[in-house]
Symmetry: C2
Subunit: 364 residues, 2 copies
């Protein structure tokens, strides 16, 4: 059986970079051409290190490779943990010619990218995402950052990697809950921009949940392609890129309410997309059966279809008010004009929003 392998380029002018997707890449693929200097610092966490750190080190032949192992979890996506990366870099005397490598999920990727963006005012980094969510989401876009007690990802930078290496084998050790969370973002790409991909997902969702390698590689490739297209059109998120936030305004509120790490990001986005579809129905944009179609697909992917019990409409309104997608105090939301076509609007009727929130919130 031949190895499945895809490659694409994220086209950002002089900051363009490749995404290499395949089976068995970790430990065999040579990433040293993407390292300008002689020093490499691999940043990973205590869950991923025993599984893949050794293989990752061997991707950098001829380089001096150090590593730093962070605690695992969204709740550690803070300054204190970020500082462990700076401590390691300075203790090992890494110069401004060093290259950082993120080996792990979205938290490791966001923190490593942010550390790279501000260590000595900016050094290069490479991503080796090992969760489905990070493979289809943070591989493309250059968003990096940490959380603040008053909001998620409030402190960060745009910083593009030199290359992204995705090994589908790394998904075999992933908890199924995290596979589902990754599928939320995969489904999102179908919903916002690609009706044909959405159809393929409705056919293939069971294969994806069962982690069939061919289906996974295809889903990752098409998701990265979709996101790369959108990001190339709008690198700094002034316009169309905002459609990538489908379900995220509701989702971030859910994550904050639940406490970081209790709901996975993808789970919150899954429920958030159902809520966005519901509001789209109330706004007269899509038919009620389309909402049902979204809800069923989200459910088949193993994702929650509603926010946590106990979260009220007021909780949403308060938490969404500080969300960074707002401009000059108006609530901006991504809604569905049809399945496969999302738009950004700050004109949703507040009464419809209330109805959506009320219909989804179960206080006990």
């Amino acid at each position: 059986m031949s190895k499945i392998r895809h490659e694409l380029t994220v086209d950002l002018g002089d900051r363009s970079y490749p995404i290499i997707i395949g089976q068995g890449m970790l430990g065999s693929y040579d990433l040293s051409p993407y390292v300008a200097g002689s020093q490499v610092m691999i940043v990973t966490n205590e869950t991923v290190a025993p599984l893949y750190l050794e293989q990752a080190v061997s991707c950098f032949p001829g380089k001096t490779v150090d590593s730093v192992v962070l605690p695992d979890g969204e709740r550690y996506k803070d300054w204190e943990t970020l500082n462990l990366i700076f401590d390691a870099l300075l203790e090992k005397r890494h110069t401004r010619k060093t290259t950082l490598v993120a080996l792990g999920g979205g938290v490791v990727g966001d923190m490593t990218g942010f550390a790279a963006s501000c260590y000595q005012r900016g050094v290069p980094f490479i991503q080796i995402p090992t969760t489905l969510l990070s493979q289809v989401d943070s591989s493309v876009g250059g968003k990096t950052g940490i959380n603040h007690p008053l909001g998620k990802n409030m402190i960060g930078a745009f910083h593009q990697p030199e290359a992204v290496l995705i090994d589908t084998d790394s998904l075999l050790t992933l908890p199924s809950r995290e596979v589902s969370a990754g599928l939320a973002e995969v489904i999102k790409y179908g919903l916002i921009r690609d009706t044909e991909f959405l159809g393929w997902l409705e056919e293939s969702v069971d294969d994806l949940v069962a982690r069939k390698p061919g289906a996974l590689a295809e889903a990752i490739f098409r998701s990265c392609l979709c996101k790369a297209e959108v990001v190339a059109l709008d690198e700094r998120e002034g316009g169309i890129r905002a459609i990538l936030n489908l379900g995220h305004t509701f989702g971030h509120a859910i994550e904050t309410f639940a406490g970081y790490g209790n709901w996975l990001h993808g789970e919150a986005v899954g429920a958030g997309m159902v809520m966005a579809a519901d509001l789209s129905v109330r706004e007269g944009m899509i038919a009620a059966e389309k909402l049902q179609q979204v809800r069923v697909l989200i459910g088949r992917a193993g994702l929650p279809e509603a926010p946590p019990i106990g979260m009220g409409a007021d909780d949403f309104l308060n938490l969404m008010a500080v969300d960074k997608k707002n401009v000059d105090g108006r609530l901006r939301l991504v809604l569905l004009k049809s399945l496969g076509n999302a738009i950004v609007t700050d004109k949703a009727d507040p009464e419809n929003l209330d109805k959506t929130l009320t219909s989804f919130c179960r206080l006990q």
Copy 2:
């Protein structure tokens, strides 16, 4: 008597910005054209706030202006203090369309610029530097950052302001030690690139120490012009910009050894420039009497001509090894080919360096 006023543009393509230098600007100059949104957050410190905060607020007619007052001092240039800015922004619900304003010296400028570079992944900022050092140094270049226990300015970003407003009147409340510290950087511009300016400085240094407004405005204008030229040639510090670090490799070692805040940055740079001139003599680049000329000018500016007593050659070597000006482990230094012409080299003879260090270090 007509008001002294200069204006120049730092030419960085679509990130170009003006520097406006004059008397009585604070409280009268309208900066609101440089604010895209409706929110402004002025960041200042407890020393500057009682003197100039009210006047600064009135530079933004028609805007919603909040402020945050930080503790004063280089020792607060850390994450904890930086976080006070994020706390204020989030508590007051500043969106990604907010504009930050740095009102104060270099520490306030560096921290505010860094906060702006990473709040919600980047918002604009304006500088109102109130110390001579920050007026002639951090006004130009876009360097922002904070310190790490293992090194100065190790965490930061390049982030250009929308505009810089310099009021020479703000120097009237500055301690004389800080005027001298600012003159170290002014003298540096003469030494690295402008023989004619250096001559003017030798004539005018007493007027500058005496804070004659015309002399100060001229020195600030010419310093900013010189730095703007160098930075425009090399925004990301790959090449010629490194000459701006004359005296800084020795100077950073002195600051770290003395403990942040005990020696002012400019004082350390003053002594560092004398050391660099000394090494330039030993390397056969300039004559011994040129060293004397530098030493005399530094002394007349009220600056120390040698490192602190108790600092040894080994202290220098250890502290300079982690300096970020090093590439792949080699020590890079800025030396003087002549007075008015600096070069960057990693080829200084280690024995000459030892002789310079030994001749300046007084262990008791």
